[in-house]
Symmetry: C2
Subunit: 366 residues, 2 copies
Amino acid sequence: MMVTSRLASLQNLLRRRKLDAILVTQPENRFFLSGYTATDHGIGESSGVLLIPRRGAPFLLTDSRFTLQAEQEATEFEVKLYKKGLISLLSNLLPQIAVKRLAFESSYLLHSTHVKLEKAAQKIGVETIATTELIEQLRMEKREEEIAAIRRAVELNERIFKEIHRGIAPGISELELALKIETRMRELGTQRPSFDTIVAFGDNSAKPHAMPTERRLMKGEIVLIDMGLVHKGYCSDMTRTFFMGEPDPLYIERHRVVRAAQLAGIAAVRAGAVCRDVDGAARKIIADAGYKDAFSHSLGHGVGLAVHEEPRLSMRNRKKLRSSMVVTIEPGIYFPNWGGIRLENMVVVRDDGCEQLNTDTTWLDI
Amino acid sequence: MMVTSRLASLQNLLRRRKLDAILVTQPENRFFLSGYTATDHGIGESSGVLLIPRRGAPFLLTDSRFTLQAEQEATEFEVKLYKKGLISLLSNLLPQIAVKRLAFESSYLLHSTHVKLEKAAQKIGVETIATTELIEQLRMEKREEEIAAIRRAVELNERIFKEIHRGIAPGISELELALKIETRMRELGTQRPSFDTIVAFGDNSAKPHAMPTERRLMKGEIVLIDMGLVHKGYCSDMTRTFFMGEPDPLYIERHRVVRAAQLAGIAAVRAGAVCRDVDGAARKIIADAGYKDAFSHSLGHGVGLAVHEEPRLSMRNRKKLRSSMVVTIEPGIYFPNWGGIRLENMVVVRDDGCEQLNTDTTWLDI
């Protein structure tokens, strides 16, 4: 049902752009349009691609390892097997369904694959057209059932954080803590972490994308945890930072600056707000506190089937937020040899403001 | 030390091909040449790329989230920050170091990135040259210290399988068993699974790339487990299939066919053997037993920093094996509504045959 209406929206879009068909290679787009849940082992090892003509039945093209699963899951699709590879199958199939203008996803097709596709297309008189963000556009504004799925992922995320927080004590290593978190995610039946869990102690937290190490926690150190999970296809993403033991005045001051920036960002979110202005609202608080250069990344990003998707809340994005988008608000400040503080929540954009998906403020207001 | 000699080999290769520099985007190639361990969140979110000129100091280009880590790990490299993105940094850097002919990795660069790169390159009079498998070639023949690392990964893999095998009983679900395996991998200090662990019961095992489900094991069912881990950068990959309870005659017959095919494949491996002939040696056993069409994939693949790399032991690969390559030998036969049997070991190609990295044959010879 959901798949049917998504296909219809895409086919409308194809007609408007005078495209005969689109080749869908991006994995979340593939799931969004087909319900097919297979995952790829990197971009070089695809578990299948969709070929969606502007009218008529769509195709799922895959190899023999995935045929059974594809037929079971992508019930709206005709599953076709490529024995000699995708390009060879397309060379036969495209003329059969009278495709002359074939769109492809420029942001998810390898240069080497495009070279082969282009060569084959020329032979059969097909024009290939690079598109970007075509299906991503359809994914940006969430339906209420998608928001419900995301809300559930956020709830599970908060629950796990609360549980594991109790067990955090000096002596535990970053790797051990990350393992505890990810094991709990899977015990609760979620599919997988939405990204490699970040656990950083002390000055390791000065790296916004720190990888967990053998380092063991000591009293008097910062603990930064950035964790997300995938549940029924949808992602959560949350960061909490706290101090092991009694926080010192500098930590408290900086934490409060980040929290104030987060609240300013949240307050700026509503349908119609310009993305860079939302980023700016939070950034101003940090700059006014004297930490301008320490906030070295964007304020946030969209979340849905992918943990990082459109829209980006960055200094450069002049686009406007629309109702039912889901974004993170995650200001952070980082100081080499001291550490970093990042606080990340997720919100749903609404006409008159936003709905906060995180409900637990225990570690935010100190 | 290892990094220094790898860089020298690559720079030799660049000189021979009259290339001024290469842009390295592929993550395992990046680690191989620099020692930088950051992981990418998919191809669209890189944690950095290398720019290696044919002479002089190499560069690691990244953003502010990764600078600290890059400087700590890639000690042979000059770390440069791209504030306005990679392409903008390259536009400035390439003329400074007099690059006129820039190679890029065609099999690991998005079409959309290439379009931007090409546009920028034309403006500054730089020619871009698509390459494939350039650094992968350097990775195919392993040094003994790399083989030692792979051997250790295989040992850990066998140890974990042995441990968890004891706990497999009717009632456990595929997901629970996969979780046990992956948790144990991490408890033993390995970095991560080298791919999503496959656990398939009964007729689910007919899908060569089955994803674990809630399905619970019953007596009289096939259990197929395909698992791999990454330890100190290097991968293992192993498949075992067995029967829960007393195996029926059909299972025993088919299992023995697969094992015989595996042994025939292993016997065919030696430096100088043609890849398709090794595949053929195993395939013949299966065809002769009447199961030709049930063996629907290739016999094996290289393993190293990537779990799937060159060389491919496929029906189409006419290249020859060389000493010190590491490959899997994994014949499998699959029957919808019945199940599948796959047995996978890893071997090192040697001048006079091969060295088996797996030592435990408990579940192979039945």
